[in-house]
Symmetry: none
Subunit: 375 residues, 2 copies
DNA sequence: TGATAAAACTTGTACGCACATATTTACAAG
DNA sequence: CTTGTAAATATGTGCGTACAAGTTTTATCA
């Protein structure tokens, strides 16, 4: 396009400029109805067709929108120009047991509204997360649903989130949330309460030496650990760092397994293990079994997420339900709400209540349980 | 803007689409001069004003530019649209046990090349597939990887694939392929051979009455069935339609289960069941167990896809390996190749060799096996 | 032959009219 | 009070004309 007619006194250009001025200056505000084409035609003493040309330009530029039969209205400037109908979803893992159902929930809500999903994954690396965001900033997207990578660690690319704010691209965190951005809209589980509930459950079964295996680099791990500690303290059980294992994304396959196998060598050091999630729980079970211990006869084990994963030999984990699809739906709806109404109104954050799912991986343990560890 | 006038035959819209088509298809190339407004007006038998409206829209969209006094020209921009770095992936199911790893394979290849994935899912409905394609045609994408919905049934929206060809948007089929488009690039498993292999394996174990449960509405089901028939014929076993069950997407949860339970009432009617996939195999196993039959002691059961799904009570399915990640990678690489080199060179189709995965769901059956069906 | 003016194109601006179609309002009938 | 209908009003489509203002081609003259 050229439209370098800034100096000339073309009628359609003048009226266009005039109306634009009124919109930008605030004389005509978002949602206000403009005078009808005939009124403008009279007012400016020009033909309706010329008025239409001016209005068409403003509409193209996103300043106004017309509704057939109703009139022409001032649009919410930035908001209405976002019509790519693309939403980006940034996840940590693709083949994770959580992801498919979460994205299915997101998809079902967004597809119904005519949106398309752009998928990105970070493999839980902050570098790749930054790269994803940079790529997305180049693209035409209306909003982002993001599962932060290593949400526990200080976020080094705040500037990118700042840019999202500047560009007025709304975003919703799921699963976790950087501490620096904890005021931003997010949908996550009450992991602290979940950790508390499942630990309390073990205590109620008579366990006294409850080990814990937690992921160190995301918020979920921190919160589940916090709940674990709360439950112990409430029951007057001393927190024993000797039987708490922290691991990072990179060594999730080996570290918990090896630590637990090492711990299992000391008889009676634990009578239960609270695990970060079901996946970790299976690693722990593998380690315990190789050490000759039986689940749950010798050691009770709990998971988190209710993955219903390949459970070897009829063992069903006692775990915390993860409303995967629901979480996706809620995040999508929150995002739609943000896109429609802006960041103004009300409470944006959703905290999902955890729910205990009973399996057969835990057992009632009486006072003298410690004797029958390793028969 | 709305411009949702896709269906109507508005004159300015038609001529606009017509010209756009010519530009995108390459009939009008970058730099070419378009017919003058008066010529178009004569040619299409409409007024010059209406032609101007159509041209204005194309100019707004960046397809053409006008030079005062000289004419209207096709802009270079068309070529640039092929650099959106967006690839669409259209799948049937999101939470399917195959999908996550396939898309992970796709993602790993495409992300490395700087592409982003746009995700669409059809829930195996052809209507939704058509809708997805229509939406994608509106968007800025460089290529598509598509798992066709109900690939066995005649494809009713060939026109959309034709449009992809016109717009020169390359696409690769995975998992299945419409018979009308079987010459198009695709990456799929040799399902016929897979069905043949697994049936032959059962025959080699001494089975004589091998039932089959197949999905009727996709190519995979047809091909696995074809292999099943081939193996039977090769072994001189008569094909018995009484013990072959066909089901559709919609009743995948109930139909196989009920048919097998009905069949199981007749003692000795079958000594093995070849199933469309692992998911179906589990439904079949559930039905057989409820009829009082033991797997594999009374009836051997095979799956397909090697899903390693929640296997009840230590049962591991004998199945066919599904190289999910590899399949995704191959499809992505094939698509990249198409985008770089066009459709010209060499063999585009990839047929993955099936591989037998032995579990404990099948057993050697001696000649007089039929006695011990139902003890 | 070569410069120049005129003619014949091109797109751009501006206005007019008629009718289609969607929405709101007013009013009357039940 | 509800419902149906008609009128008024809004934008949307489509056509026609006239003239303005650039660019290219053609005809003309020195």
């Amino acid at each position: 396009m050229k439209e370098s007619n800034s100096g000339k006194q073309l009628k359609y250009f003048q009226i266009m400029e005039d109306l634009k001025e009124q919109i930008v200056s605030g004389k005509i505000q978002a949602g206000d109805k403009l005078p009808s084409e005939n009124e403008l035609s009279k007012e400016y003493q020009i033909s309706r067709q010329t008025v239409r040309k001016a209005l068409a330009m403003l509409q193209n530029a996103g300043y106004i929108y017309a509704e057939h039969g109703r009139g022409t209205f001032c649009s919410e400037l930035v908001r209405h120009t976002r019509t790519s109908k693309n939403i980006a979803v940034v996840t940590t893992y693709l083949s994770d047991y959580i992801f498919p159902r979460v994205i299915q929930g997101i998809d079902s809500v967004l597809t119904a509204e005519g949106y398309s999903i752009m998928l990105k994954n970070t493999r839980n690396s902050r570098g790749r997360e930054a790269q994803c965001l940079e790529e997305l900033l180049q693209k035409d997207i209306d909003g982002i649903i993001i599962e932060p990578s290593k949400s526990q660690i200080f976020c080094k690319h705040m500037n990118l989130y700042q840019k999202l704010d500047d560009y007025q691209i709304p975003y919703v965190f799921i699963q976790g949330c950087f501490s620096q951005l904890k005021d931003k809209p997010h949908v996550l589980m009450d992991d602290c309460k979940g950790g508390y509930m499942i630990t309390k459950y073990l205590i109620s079964l008579g366990h006294k030496k409850i080990a814990g295996v937690f992921k160190a680099d995301d918020m979920q791990g921190q919160n589940r650990h916090k709940g674990y500690v709360m439950a112990l303290q409430e029951a007057g059980i001393l927190y024993d760092p000797e039987i708490v294992v922290w691991y990072h994304t990179e060594d999730r396959k080996i570290h918990p397994y090896e630590c637990i196998r090492e711990m299992a060598k000391k008889p009676g050091i634990m009578d239960a293990v609270v695990c970060y999630n079901d996946q970790t729980a299976f690693e722990v079970i593998r380690a315990l079994r190789e050490a000759g211990l039986k689940i749950p006869e010798n050691v009770s084990v709990t998971g988190y997420d209710n993955s219903r994963m390949p459970n070897t030999e009829g063992l069903h984990l006692t775990t915390i339900a993860h409303p995967q699809e629901k979480l996706g739906e809620m995040a999508a709806e929150l995002l739609l709400d943000l896109m429609r109404n802006g960041e103004t109104d009300g409470e944006k954050n959703v905290l999902i209540e955890p729910e205990l799912v009973l399996g057969n991986s835990c057992i009632q343990r009486d006072a003298e349980c410690n004797k029958n560890v390793k028969e």
